[in-house]
C-alpha cells in the first residue's frame, strides 16, 4: 500500500467545505485522472493514472462515509483499491484540510509520484470547489428569497414595492407605444431579451396622469395596478377570478409609456 498526503488551507467556512465534500459525485468528477463518472448503480469512477509510458486504468466503485470532522471516499476497483481520507480542522478563520490518498493494486510501487500529484490536485480541487461553489448557492438562496418578496408584492401596499426595489436592479428602460391590448406584445418582447422569471414592469405617461405596474412570474401576472382617467385599479392575483380581472385590466392599458423593467438582484 502506498500513501500520499497533502494539506490545503481553505479560506471559507466549514459548512461550505462540508457541502463540497458531501456532494461526492461532483467532487470526484473534478479529480484529475478521472475519465468518467457514473452514478447509475452506485458511484463509479474510471480513473487512469499515468506513469512513464504506462497508464493504469481501473473502474472504482466509491463509497462515501462522513463523521464530524472527516470524510472517507473508499474506492474498490477490479485490480486495486483506492481510498481518500479528508480530515478537516478549523484554524482561525480558515479550514485546514488534510488529504491522505492510499492505493493498493497494480503498479503501486511505481505510482508514488503520480499519487502525490493526484492527492495535491484533489486538494486544490477541494479548495476551489469550497471557495467558489457556495457563492452560487448563496446567489440561488438570495434569488429564492427575492422570489418570495416578489410573490408577496402587493401594489396596494407601497412598502412591498419598496422592499422589492431594495433588492432589484433596472434592466430595461424605454419609451413604448402600447396599442389596443398591446401590453401582452410588450411583455412578449421584453421576455425575449430578459431571462429572469420575476419581472416588475412599470410604465408612466409623459404627463404622469396614467401609469401602471405589473408583476410577472414567467408569463403569469401576479399583481397589477393601473391608474388612469377613471381612477385606480389594483389586483393581487390569488385565484382564477382575480387572474381574469388582472388580464382585463392589462388589456385596458394603451398609450405611450416610459417603461422600466426591474428584476431581483442575482438574476440575468
Amino acid at each position: 500500500m502506498k500513501r500520499k498526503s497533502t494539506t490545503v488551507s481553505i479560506n471559507t467556512s466549514k459548512e461550505r467545505v462540508e457541502a463540497a465534500l458531501n456532494d461526492a459525485p461532483s467532487f470526484i468528477t473534478n479529480w484529475p485522472y478521472v475519465v468518467r463518472v457514473s452514478v447509475k448503480e452506485g458511484l463509479k469512477a474510471e480513473i487512469m493514472m499515468p506513469r512513464f509510458m504506462f497508464k493504469f486504468r481501473d473502474i472504482y466503485k466509491f463509497n462515501h462515509h462522513a463523521d464530524y470532522n472527516s470524510h472517507i471516499y473508499d474506492g474498490t476497483g477490479e485490480r486495486g483499491h483506492m481510498s481518500l481520507v479528508v480530515t478537516l480542522k478549523e484554524w482561525q478563520k480558515n479550514i485546514n484540510a488534510v488529504l491522505e490518498l492510499s492505493y493498493q493494486g497494480k503498479g503501486e510501487f511505481w505510482l508514488g509520484k503520480t499519487l502525490q500529484n493526484f492527492v495535491e490536485s484533489i486538494g486544490s480541487v477541494l479548495k476551489e470547489l469550497a471557495e467558489n461553489r457556495p457563492v452560487q448557492e448563496q446567489i440561488q438562496s438570495q434569488r429564492s428569497a427575492t422570489g418570495e418578496i416578489a410573490v408577496n408584492m402587493d401594489f396596494s401596499n407601497p412598502m412591498t414595492v419598496a422592499e422589492f426595489l431594495a433588492k432589484s436592479r433596472m434592466v430595461h428602460s424605454g419609451l413604448h407605444i402600447i396599442g389596443e391590448k398591446g401590453l401582452f406584445d410588450l411583455i412578449g418582447e421584453l421576455r425575449a431579451t430578459i431571462n429572469d422569471r420575476p419581472l416588475y414592469i412599470s410604465g408612466i405617461t409623459n404627463d404622469g396622469t396614467s401609469s401602471f405596474k405589473v408583476l410577472l412570474d414567467g408569463s403569469q401576472i401576479l399583481a397589477i395596478e393601473y391608474r388612469g382617467a377613471e381612477g385606480m385599479k389594483t389586483v393581487k392575483v390569488e385565484n382564477d377570478d382575480e387572474a381574469r380581472k388582472a388580464v382585463d385590466i392589462a388589456s385596458e392599458i394603451k398609450g405611450t409609456y416610459m417603461i422600466n423593467v426591474w428584476v431581483p438582484v442575482g438574476g440575468v
Binding site: 412598502m159 419598496a162 426595489l165 433596472m170 428602460s173 412599470s202 408612466i204 404622469g208 401609469s211 422600466n260
Partner: protein, 102 residues
C-alpha cells in the same frame, strides 16, 4: 444603464406612499427634461427611521448635481431626475440619499 440599490443606513420605512408623491411631480420632470436637467428639490422628515413627510419641487439645472444635508429630523435634498429611470429609479435614489443621511 443600470441602477442598483443597496441597503445601507438606518431607514425603516415610509409612512407615506413615496411612489404617489413622485408621480405628482412626474409631469414637471418630463417637461423639464426637454429644456435642461430636472432635479427634485425638497425636504423629508425622518423620525425614528420612518419617513413621515415629503415635500418637493422640480427645478432645472444645466448639469446633474446631487446634494443633501440633514438638519435635525429634516433632510434637505437635490437629486437629479431622469425620465428614463422612471418613478422607481427616482425612488431608489431618494431612498439611498435618505438612508445615507441617517
Amino acid at each position: 444603464m443600470s441602477i442598483e440599490s443597496d441597503r445601507i443606513g438606518n431607514l425603516k420605512g415610509w409612512k407615506l406612499d413615496p411612489f404617489d408623491e413622485l408621480q405628482r411631480v412626474w409631469k414637471a420632470i418630463n417637461d423639464g427634461a426637454l429644456l435642461g436637467v430636472p432635479h427634485i428639490v425638497g425636504r423629508a422628515s425622518v423620525r425614528n427611521g420612518m419617513v413621515s413627510g415629503l415635500e418637493m419641487d422640480v427645478i432645472l439645472h444645466g448639469s446633474e448635481k446631487e446634494l443633501s444635508f440633514r438638519d435635525g429630523d429634516e433632510v434637505y435634498f437635490i437629486i437629479p431626475a431622469r425620465p428614463e429611470e422612471g418613478i422607481e429609479g427616482l425612488y431608489v435614489k431618494l431612498d439611498r440619499i435618505l438612508r445615507e443621511s441617517q
